[in-house]
Homo-oligomer: 208 residues x 2
C-alpha cells in the first residue's frame, strides 16, 4: 500500500489541510498555531468556536515555560500526551498526583474525588502552572483555593470534558483574572490539554 510514512510529512500535510478547511479567521500567528494543533488532535473544527485564549495568556505561558516551571496535570493521559523532549529542553517538568496512594487515601477518607485531593497536593507544593483536561472537580477546587489565597496560579489550561460540571467548572474559572486558555462548553479532554501545552512549548523549542 502507498501511504505517507514520514511523521514530519504527515504533520505538515495535516496542518496544510486544516489551514485550507479553516477558511477566514482573525487569529494571530501564535493563536493559530494553538487552534490548528487542537484541531489536529481532535479532527474537530468546532474548536474554532469554543477555544478561548485570553489576551496575554500566551505571553504569560511562554514566560513561565522559559523560566523552567513545574506543571501540574490532572490526568495521566494528559501527562502522557505532553512532549517530553520539549519539556526537557525547557527545563520544565510535569507532574500528576492522581494515582498517588496517599492522594487516593485522602480522597476516600474525605469523600472527595482523587482529582480534588491531587490538586490540593499540587497547591501545597507551590505549583503555579496548571493543566486540567478531565476533572471539573479539580478545577472547582482550584478556584476555591485561589479565592482562599492559598494558591498563586499564574497560568491555567482548562479543558475538562463531560456532562456533569465540566462546562460549569470552566465558567467559574473564567471569572478569575488569571492568564488562561479554556475550551468552553462540554468538549475538551486530556488530549486537547496536552496539545495546547505542546503548541505553547513549540513556540520556544523545536518539537524534536
Amino acid at each position: 500500500m502507498d501511504y505517507i510514512k514520514i511523521p514530519m510529512d504527515i504533520e505538515k500535510r495535516s496542518f496544510e489541510i486544516i489551514g485550507q478547511e479553516m477558511g477566514e479567521h482573525k487569529y494571530s500567528p501564535r493563536e493559530l498555531s494553538i487552534i490548528k494543533r487542537v484541531i489536529h488532535t481532535t479532527a474537530d473544527f468546532d474548536y474554532r468556536n469554543i477555544l478561548y485564549i485570553r489576551d496575554g495568556a500566551i505571553d504569560a505561558a511562554v514566560e513561565l515555560l522559559k523560566k523552567g516551571v513545574t506543571i501540574y496535570t490532572d490526568t495521566k493521559m494528559a501527562l502522557a500526551g505532553i512532549n517530553k523532549k520539549a519539556l526537557k529542553d525547557l527545563n520544565c517538568n510535569a507532574l500528576c498526583f492522581v494515582s498517588d496512594e496517599n492522594v487516593a487515601e485522602i480522597a476516600k477518607a474525605r469523600h472527595i474525588t482523587r482529582s480534588m485531593a491531587a490538586v490540593e497536593k499540587a497547591v501545597e507544593d507551590g505549583v503555579e502552572f496548571f493543566i486540567f483536561g478531565n476533572a471539573p472537580t479539580a478545577l472547582f477546587r482550584l478556584k476555591e483555593l485561589i479565592e482562599e489565597g492559598k494558591c498563586n496560579a499564574k497560568f491555567i489550561i482548562a479543558t475538562p470534558i463531560g456532562f456533569v460540571g465540566a462546562a460549569e467548572s470552566k465558567i467559574e474559572i473564567e471569572k478569575l483574572d488569571i492568564p488562561m486558555i479554556v475550551v468552553r462548553g462540554r468538549k475538551g479532554g486530556s488530549t486537547v490539554a496536552a496539545s495546547i501545552l505542546n503548541a505553547l512549548m513549540y513556540m520556544i523549542v523545536d518539537r524534536g
Copy 2:
C-alpha cells in the same frame, strides 16, 4: 461552591444525560454501553453516526479478555487511559512499544514511523488483540502483515484520528474479515480507543 464530588455519582449522572440526549436508537445493551462510554469520553454525539461495531466483535473481544490476553496499544496515551484494575482483574496486560529505544532506532534506519516499527514488534511477539488510537501508519502496516500471513489478529479497535491517512487506514482494515470496532472517518483518538476497551472490560468485571 456546590458541585458533585463523588466520582461514581458523576459518571452515573453523565450516563443518564447521554441516554436522555441520545433519543431513539437500535443499539443492543452491550453496544449501548460502548457508544455511551465513547460519548462520555468525547462529549461528542457524532459518535452515534461513526462508531461501527462489527457483528460478533463484542463476543470475540469478551472471549479474549476472559482468557487473559496481551493487548497492543499504539500510544502511551491510550495505554494511560486503560483501566488498570480491570485489566489486572482479567489477568490481561497492555503494552506499548512506541517509546522503546530499539523501536526508535529501527524506525529511523528504515525511514518508517515509530508506530510502524512498534506494531511489527507486537506482531513478532504474537499479539492478537490490537488497539490503534492514533497511528494510521501502524494500522496500514498491520493490514499488510495480516495479508502476508504474519499476524493472527483476532480483535482490533481501530480509531486513528486525523487528516492524513486516518480515514483511509480504517477503510483498509475494514476490508479484513476480523472482529473489530472502528470509528469511521477522521475522528477517534487514543481516549476513544481506551474507552472502548474499558467498556468491553466492564462487561465482565467491575470498573472499581
